[in-house]
């Protein structure tokens, strides 16, 4: 090694310099967040405080109109409740469906593991909108599912599935199931089978072993799966739009129509931010409670 090369190495080895270079790596991400998250959010915040008497054509006056929030929430409180209710049911049912599925893929699928994983993500190869539209056909009044349930007298002869809350929630469950399954699978796949053997060796029946070892170790996947399902589901409007009626509308539908149909920007911004804030608060409480940061 010649002297100048040694010098160069020494220079880059200075701790201060190194730290400077490390921060540089954050720049693209930070710029991205600044441009596409922080800036629009701040813009949205200002928009939410415009005077509601303005209109899209005439422009809005900035009057720091905090009353917008109280008005919006009062007007749409039923939508908030319905959004969180549907999202909650969706999350719960997704969890009940996805856990056994992810468990089977992780522990029992053997050489079929990769095939099954591909099948879980296969729906993503088709558009979200298209798949939801096809559920219209599946749940249609003359469709196979309705016909079958009517034949079994589970549904009355004039009973419907489409345009009911069941259709909307079913659509949500269908659309978000992979978001629950994949993180659960990732967590379960990491569970060392020898730990389950050890639990058995220490007087745990298979069920107790699951409750005391497998389930706690899959908590990180369970938490991220429920978040990945609940957060987008609570803001979804496509399922309510395509499979429901205005009676099933969720907050997303109201925000969509306020922005694009009524062009009532302050209301739309107010609702968007309120939803965001509520979800963030719920997520923080949830993560605190489940204590995932302590999990290995």
């Amino acid at each position: 090694m010649n002297p100048s090369a040694t010098e160069a190495v020494n220079v880059t080895d200075k701790p201060g310099q190194r730290r400077g270079k490390g921060w540089l790596l954050l720049v693209p991400g930070m710029l991205w967040l600044l441009m596409f998250f922080l800036f629009p959010t701040v813009q949205l915040f200002f928009t939410s405080l415009y005077d509601p008497s303005g209109s899209f054509e005439q422009g809005y006056a900035m009057t720091w109109h905090f009353q917008n929030y109280a008005d919006a929430i009062k007007e749409t409180s039923d939508l908030f409740v319905r959004s969180f209710l549907y999202a909650g049911i969706t999350t719960l049912v997704c969890l009940l469906l996805a856990y056994p599925l992810a468990y089977a893929i992780a522990f029992k699928s053997g050489r079929w593991k990769n095939v099954m994983l591909v099948l879980v993500i296969a729906p993503f190869f088709t558009s979200f909108l298209l798949r939801t539209l096809s559920w219209q056909a599946i749940l249609a009044d003359q469709g196979p599912v309705t016909g079958f349930l009517r034949a079994l007298a589970i549904l009355p002869d004039d009973g419907r599935l489409l345009a009911t809350p069941i259709a909307v929630v079913a659509g949500l469950i269908y659309n978000f199931l992979p978001f629950m399954t994949l993180p659960l699978y990732a967590s379960l796949d990491k569970v060392d089978h020898r730990l389950i053997e050890a639990a058995g060796d220490l007087y745990s029946s298979p069920f107790t072993g699951f409750r005391k070892v497998t389930l706690p170790l899959s908590m990180p996947g369970l938490v991220s799966g429920t978040l990945l399902t609940f957060i987008p589901a609570s803001g979804d409007y496509i399922n309510a739009e395509l499979l429901g009626t205005p009676r099933e509308y969720m907050l997303g539908n109201r925000i969509q129509s306020a922005f694009l149909v009524e062009q009532n920007y302050p209301l739309a911004a107010t609702l968007s931010l309120s939803l965001m804030l509520l979800v963030v608060v719920m997520v923080i409480l949830y993560i605190r409670r489940s204590g995932t940061e302590e999990l290995v």
Binding site: E197, G200, D201, T208, V296
Partner: protein, 384 residues
């Protein structure tokens, strides 16, 4: 569960019996018609190379594998069909298999809680003390060193006072120095609490240090079973002779097996073997001599010990290893014999090319059936 434990203890001794146990995986026979009794309170080692069936045997006792044939029982109780969680048996796993989401205290208390035992706190604290981890109860396994994790695994199994404690290569993941320390520690704990230990290992030194009885396993069967000294001094097969320590095996013809010393012809020189150590009495045989039992002397010198003698060797390699010097001596028939001389300072040392004669006492050699492969068991995995 706890109740049946109590009955067992007050009744017949809780010896572990394996009777005609076999385990097949498809065409592969992992354990072949094994019959074995481990007396209550023994420290028993199953020793063998990887793939010899020792771990499969252990897993069948634990209930983690079902035997293809045969029965496993503790005392009078047949446990062959019992699920692992219903057996009075606990295991220290090779990987430790500590629960990463539980504290050390909860790991150790796990078995007690599952059985619904009272005073978990006191018993767990006692166990933490026994394995010298009192201050670590609140930590998670990942925050402990390998040796400490090993002790947690031990404590977690021992606290249930099992009829038999199974140890699957328990010290394999530790470095040499720590392993030595833990060997003594395990032996101390076993002596202190008197539970039957069944210890599976491929490390012959580990087995000899700790166990009262060793069963050497090879290809699914037990080659030989006995106390460490007995196995070492009087092996019955070439596999045992090579797997436990090192042996020189020399091809000989049996000349006279009528007396208390069997006389064999070793490439033209006659030597004797104690009858009790002679496992063949006619035809050809492998004469076995441990390298450290041989004394080398300068050719035709008067220092040559009495007893068996083989003359005409030439030193072909010398390695000094501190406590001893290890020579390779090429004999007239072309074979190189290992000779280890303790560095007592009392004996002459040699260099490559020196002409030497070898001598040893007839009680210090053994004679094995010539039908066996002289190299069986010689390739050992010393790295754990």
């Amino acid at each position: 569960m706890a109740q049946s434990d109590g009955e067992q203890r007050s009744g017949a001794p809780r010896d572990l019996h394996l009777t005609e146990v076999s385990k097949r995986f498809g065409d592969f026979v992992a354990v072949d018609d094994l019959t074995l009794t481990v007396p209550e309170g023994a420290f028993f080692a199953l020793l063998g190379p990887s793939g010899c069936g020792k771990t499969t045997t252990l897993r069948m006792v634990a209930g983690l594998e079902d035997p293809t044939a045969g029965t496993v029982s503790i005392g009078a109780e047949d446990i062959t069909g019992l699920k692992p969680y219903k057996r009075p048996v606990n295991t220290v796993f090779q990987s430790y298999a500590l629960f990463p989401h539980l504290t050390i205290f909860e790991n150790i208390a796990f078995g007690l809680r599952r059985r619904g035992v009272k005073d978990v706190k006191r018993q767990t604290d006692d166990m933490l003390r026994l394995v010298q981890l009192e201050q670590y109860g609140g930590r998670k396994p990942a925050q402990l060193s390998g040796g400490q994790q090993q002790r947690v695994a031990l404590g977690r199994a021992l606290i249930n006072e099992p009829g038999v404690l199974l140890l699957d290569e328990p010290l394999g993941a530790l470095d040499l120095k720590l392993r030595r320390q833990m060997q003594l520690e395990l032996k101390r704990i076993q002596t202190e609490i008197g539970i039957t230990f069944v210890h599976v290992t491929h490390d012959q030194e580990e087995a000899m240090t700790m166990a009262d009885t060793i069963a050497v396993m090879n290809s699914g069967v037990i080659e030989q079973m006995g106390a460490p000294t007995e196995l070492y001094e009087n092996p019955r097969t070439t596999f045992v002779a090579n797997f436990l320590g090192q042996s020189n095996l020399v091809s000989t013809d049996v000349v006279d097996s009528s007396g208390s010393t069997v006389i064999v012809d070793c490439h033209g020189q006659k030597v004797g073997v104690d009858e009790s150590r002679s496992h063949t009495d006619q035809g050809k045989g492998w004469l076995g001599i441990r390298p450290e039992k041989i004394f080398a002397s300068q050719r035709d010198s008067e220092d040559l010990e009495d007893g068996n003698q083989l003359t005409g060797g030439v030193v072909s390699d010398v390695s000094f290893v501190g406590v001893s010097t290890q020579y390779l001596v090429r004999m007239p028939w072309g074979q190189e014999l290992m000779v280890f001389e303790q560095n007592t300072g009392q004996r002459q040392s040699f260099k490559s090319g020196d002409e030497v004669d070898l001598a040893w006492s007839p009680q210090h050699s053994f004679l094995l059936d010539a039908d066996q492969d002289a190299a069986a068991g010689a390739v050992r995995e010393d790295v754990g």
